[in-house]
């Protein structure tokens, strides 16, 4: 299969503008007759459904949640990037484009990223108009802050709840269309299969999660906005129900999974505290502005801490290893996420971890407290302030900057981070990989589109902070409403799709059989226990550092686990009722296949880039070594039970020069 990315001709900066003004349109009278299915109501899905509804299409929108407002976009903390250049600090669409390409370690498609940077400014305008209460300066103008990996201040934010505010904006826009009747909302409906008619995506099969009924829905095209698959690792910062099922079912119907091994491991999360742990909580990247990361120099000290005999304050300054500052003097504690995560792993692998499990490093605010305290004392005119006074003043400054995060940390761990340094450890946070799409965000299956985190398109091998929200909304508000016309303009003569057609009946039958198969196993192990085991395999062999041997081993372990799953899983209850265990089982079944493809992809990619670190490919200092000559391509995988099949899309860089990232 040849992968045509359909990037328009012309200079990079003009491509989108020119393309927009010359693309095919669907006239209003035809729009009214055309139906679109949107799966997912996060930033991408809600914004797409709302906008398509405004345009006059008949939209059917689906979520497995009880309300569209629950989608996991809501949990994003930090902010959203936009090249507004309100700070007059030299920002531009080109600079945002360049930062994103570089941050992604040169593994994304130039044209898509540039379009993203271009529309970023419109997103902010749109959100403000919807009533999103962005942070503002006293003068009433929008405020910005900085994020990792860039030299300008272009992140817009709403305290630590930017994702929530943006999602509520999109949810309200969606609600307005629901009230107008242009969008029909289906809550508590989980997509369990894609239906293709004559090779085109024409509908989906859903399970009504309240009644267990299997329902058929037809439309002229299908848009997936179903998020990422980080939960394949079991423990991640994703919500408990985030899953790959809708995307994976589409892959099994012919779509391709691109770069599945690109996983973002976020360096600052609250570490695992015990076997019962169900999810991990992120501590915003912004903490690394003032926090210093360290572990004890001596393994003996670390072990004493692990046993609870010593705490951080017992370790004298000279026995501490501020390893990020030591290894990366230029960027220090503010190196990008992938670099910081790997360095923490290295320290813990050496036996210097600082929690009961040995899997944590310190994030210490003591020197920031002292620094701020002294400055405050100076400003208050206190001469010769006592140590206590300095600490008191310094803590007040830290509280003002990060108070809510410190509070959250204390709620979860029961420790006071003003007194003892925080303990943090990397955790799975975002998946850059996803369904392969072309410039139109259309998959290789005609009529099937993928938006937001569910596609692979814009972040390459590593995503920069505050860019996920930007991409979700760009795709939903400003890209898909145009590009979907390229497909639909050829469908204006297609009558309404019949959900009773043979393809639908067949797909429904298959879904029912799959459910009966799972319900029929009646083994002895819970779904959760399989998910946990899968997560451990993924984390061990396909986590922060990977090698060929481990990946091969991991792949085999997943295949074995899959077999065990299909012979020994136990699902209580019945199919025709509200049954969360059955929902989970369907999702874990898909993770058990996806996990294998991730291993295969990681094994195939003989280089280290961004979130993908192959131990065989590192410099003498332990830095990632890319192989541009052989791997400047998107690896798009076609599902095959025995051996997934690789399709390549070569990445062509016409505007930026490929360089080695260095933070030293």
């Amino acid at each position: 299969m040849s992968l045509k990315n359909n990037v328009p001709e012309g200079p990079l900066a003009d491509k989108w503008t020119k393309y927009k003004s010359t693309m095919n349109l669907v006239a209003p009278n035809n729009k009214r007759r055309i139906e679109i299915i949107v799966v997912g109501t996060g930033l991408a899905g809600a914004s797409a459904a709302a906008t398509l509804g405004e345009l006059g299409y008949q939209v059917k929108c689906f979520t497995f949640h009880d309300s569209p407002r629950r989608a996991h976009s809501i949990a994003a903390q930090g902010g959203i990037n936009a090249a507004k250049n309100y700070q007059n600090d030299g920002d531009s669409a080109y600079r945002l484009f360049y930062d994103t390409i570089k941050g992604g370690d040169y593994r994304s498609r130039e044209a898509n990223v540039h379009r993203l940077a271009e529309v970023s400014t419109e997103i902010i305008d749109q959100c403000v108009a919807q009533g999103v209460p962005f942070a503002r300066e006293y003068g009433g103008l929008l405020a910005n802050r900085s994020f990792g990996g860039v030299q300008v201040s272009r992140t817009f934010y709403a305290r630590g709840q930017t994702g929530q505010q943006l999602l509520i904006g999109a949810y309200q826009a969606l609600s307005r269309q629901i009230a107008r009747g242009s969008v029909t909302m289906y809550n508590r409906h989980e997509m369990l299969d894609l239906v293709k008619v004559d090779g085109k995506a024409r509908g989906i099969i859903c399970r009504n999660l309240l009644t267990g009924e299997i329902e058929r829905f037809a439309a002229h095209c299908v848009v997936l906005a179903t998020g990422g698959y980080g939960n394949v690792f079991y423990l991640s910062t994703n919500a408990m129900a985030s899953n790959v099922t809708a995307a994976w079912k589409s892959v099994k119907k012919g779509a391709l999974m691109a770069n599945p091994c690109y996983t973002q491991i976020h360096p600052t999360c609250i570490p695992v505290s015990g076997e019962y742990q169900s999810k991990l909580t992120l501590m915003s990247e912004s903490l690394r502005n003032d926090g210093r990361v360290w572990v004890p120099n001596k393994v003996s000290d670390a072990e004493a801490i692990q046993r609870g005999e010593k705490n951080a304050l017992d370790i004298p300054e000279e026995d501490r290893d501020y390893y990020l500052e030591r290894r990366y003097p230029a960027f220090g504690n503010l190196v990008p996420r992938d670099v910081a995560s790997r360095a923490a792993k290295v320290a813990c692998d050496e036996g210097k971890g600082v929690s009961k499990t040995g899997l944590a490093v310190f994030l210490d605010f003591a020197s920031a407290i002292e620094r701020y305290g002294k400055a405050e004392a100076l400003m208050a005119g206190i001469s010769n302030p006592s140590k206590e006074k300095i600490t008191e003043l310094g803590r007040a400054v830290i509280k003002k900057k990060y108070g809510n995060l410190f509070q959250m940390y204390e709620k979860i761990t029961g420790e006071n981070p003003y007194k003892l340094p925080m303990k943090i450890y990397p955790a799975v946070h975002y998946t850059m990989g996803g369904i392969w799409v072309d410039y139109n965000l259309q998959t290789n299956v005609p009529g099937l589109f993928a938006l937001g985190e569910s596609n692979f398109s814009d972040h390459g091998a590593n995503r920069l902070g505050a860019s996920a929200l930007m991409q979700g909304l760009a795709d939903g508000y400003f890209v898909i409403p145009y590009t979907i016309g390229q497909f639909l303009s050829k469908e204006i003569r297609t009558p309404a799709i019949d959900p009773n057609g043979p393809e639908f009946i067949q797909a429904e039958k298959e879904v029912k059989e799959k459910i009966n198969q799972l319900m029929g196993i009646q083994g002895n192990q819970s779904v959760e226990s399989f998910h946990r085991k899968l997560g451990k395999i993924m984390w061990e062999y396909c986590g922060m550092a990977r090698n060929a041997e481990g990946l091969k081993k991991g792949r085999q372990m997943i295949r074995d686990l899959r077999k065990e799953f299909y012979s020994d899983v136990f699902i209580p209850g019945t199919n025709d009722e509200y049954n969360p265990e059955l929902e989970k089982a369907m999702r874990v079944a898909d993770f058990l296949e996806l996990g294998e493809v991730m291993m295969v992809d990681a094994l195939n990619r003989e280089e280290s880039c961004g979130g993908h670190f192959r131990e065989e490919h590192q410099s003498e200092e332990g830095e990632a070594k890319r192989n541009d000559a052989d791997y400047t391509y998107v690896a798009a995988w076609e599902w095959n039970e025995e051996n997934p099949i690789l399709h390549k899309e070569d990445l062509v860089f016409e505007n930026v020069e490929l360089k080695t990232r260095s933070y030293k």
Binding site: S47, E54, H65, D66, S67, P68, R69, R70, I74, A75, E122, I124, D125, Q126, A129, Q130, G131, P133, F134, R136, E137, Y138, G139, G140, L141, L142, A158, Q161, Q164, Y171, Q172, A173, S175, R176, I178, A179, M185, A239, M240, A241, S273, G274, Y276, S278, T281, L282, M408, K411, I412, G414, Y477, F478, P481, S526, E528, F570, P572, Y578, P580, E581
Partner: protein, 248 residues
Amino acid sequence: MKLTLKIWRQKNQSSKGAFESYQVEADEHMSFLEMLDVLNEQLISEKKSPVAFEHDCREGICGTCNLVIDGRPHGPSQGTTTCQLHMRSFKDGDTIHIEPFRARSFPIIKDLVVDRTAFDRIIQSGGYVSVNTGQAQDGNAIPIEGNTAAKAFDSATCIGCGACVAACPNGSAMLFTSAKVQHLGLLPQGKVEHKSRVQKMVAQMDKEGFGFCSNVGACEAECPKEISIDNIAAMNRGFVGSMFSTEE
């Protein structure tokens, strides 16, 4: 720590529910929901039906988790959702009552799971700014005073969990509705539709069967996002104003 749980079990909306007792061994570092996970694993291993409860993000922002714990929505900790509540708030040997949010407009689906779509319909009745994609002017075209933006934000932090309704002895949705009305009404972008928004949202709220507000204040006390009943007073003011308006 050893705990006795008295959990409301109810097969479906039409059946009658009752409390059932369970023993569970928990760790003080567990979150409350992880403690329930442990119980469910236990029940599944005994081939019994696990307790149905809703949860998702487990970081206090999605609004999915609910539960009334010892008579209080989201349990004993101030400004905390159930998922952020940790077992160190309880003692060894405690007996804990766990039951669903109770209100006529939140029918029980199963065990501890309730249907909160009435909230969606209230938003659909007018909880938005009528602006289509692409119609926006520059984000900085209308300056909004920092304090006003912050106040709107305070109202906008509502996570739509429904604890206000659950806490209210009248099953009233005034805190939820007023928080949305205030969030949008304070901003210049939302002011334009303010009057009609208040009327439509209040009408929908009544239609859904929520009770009247009698200013008990339990909603404010139990709100995990600590949203103030100032919002209710402000909405009342707006509602009185809109009644005297000559516009439709």
